[in-house]
Point group: C2
Amino acid sequence: MNPRLFSFVGGNMGTWRVLSSTAIVGEPLPHVGWISVEEGNVEHLPLGGSWVLRGVASNERYTTQAEKGQLTARQAPMGRPEATYGALIPIRKRDAWWAMSQDRRREIFEERSRHIGIGLDYLPAIARKLHHCRDLPTSEPFDFLTFFDFAEEDETEFDAMLAELRSTEEWNYIDREVDIRMVRLA
Amino acid sequence: MNPRLFSFVGGNMGTWRVLSSTAIVGEPLPHVGWISVEEGNVEHLPLGGSWVLRGVASNERYTTQAEKGQLTARQAPMGRPEATYGALIPIRKRDAWWAMSQDRRREIFEERSRHIGIGLDYLPAIARKLHHCRDLPTSEPFDFLTFFDFAEEDETEFDAMLAELRSTEEWNYIDREVDIRMVRLA
């Protein structure tokens, strides 16, 4: 089993209680009460499960060495005790995005949309972990699952960050996005 | 099922008859008589199968728009009637490769090793298709599977291309490589 693979199971149990689930673009996900984050591949829905999304943490696709240095210096790890608020944001990008060469995608991603730059502005309050789904053997409904956590008082900052990202040129290539907010009961 | 996923089954049947299998770096693969290329995920070894390697064709990770234009202008598709010779070359890269930022990897891959440039020099004689394994849910023994085909008289050219690639800085990051040569009986 690939140790970088995680499954997010939406259903009636888990450590994250769902506060809201909003379709930003495209189809919503069926509403669930709880989300459980499991290591490895949940192949079959457990009893009480409504959906499962899978993704693999992988190597960086766009980050330069200089940007990596800035991120490493500023970012906080996931799971800080005060970070009881969370978000799971699955997104899918259009075929036109995937058909572009690496340099064209990088240009839109950072030089024109400041994706990494915007994220940096909200460190260390907002911690994040990215999972890739597009190259899994199963036909997954999203290309990426980003899992965030932050303290309750930083939710306004988190909303501001998402508003910035969603106004970028990169976001024109997103044809499905669901924003699931959660609180950790652990 | 992801339509870009392929399984390469080594065993006692298939459309490709194995001529030789050579470990270039690291562990060899058990020798087999035939290789069968299957669409989708072969989860369990079929009767007479010795091993299965899986990989997903994906978006480009390093190619620039200019390079893509040159490749598109010159390359031939896989499966030309005269391309009865084939090679399956699985490789794995060291952790140090995957830990590098995108710009550092690109610099070694192309600016210092001319990976794309060397490949271009051998077009259209050598056709190729790249499959990614590193982010599959199963713990795969390789990171990439490259499948090549060419006419019998171009095997010397193919050998010359591999010799060039294997002498590059990029190849210092490869810790396992097996070179399987095949002939198509179809």
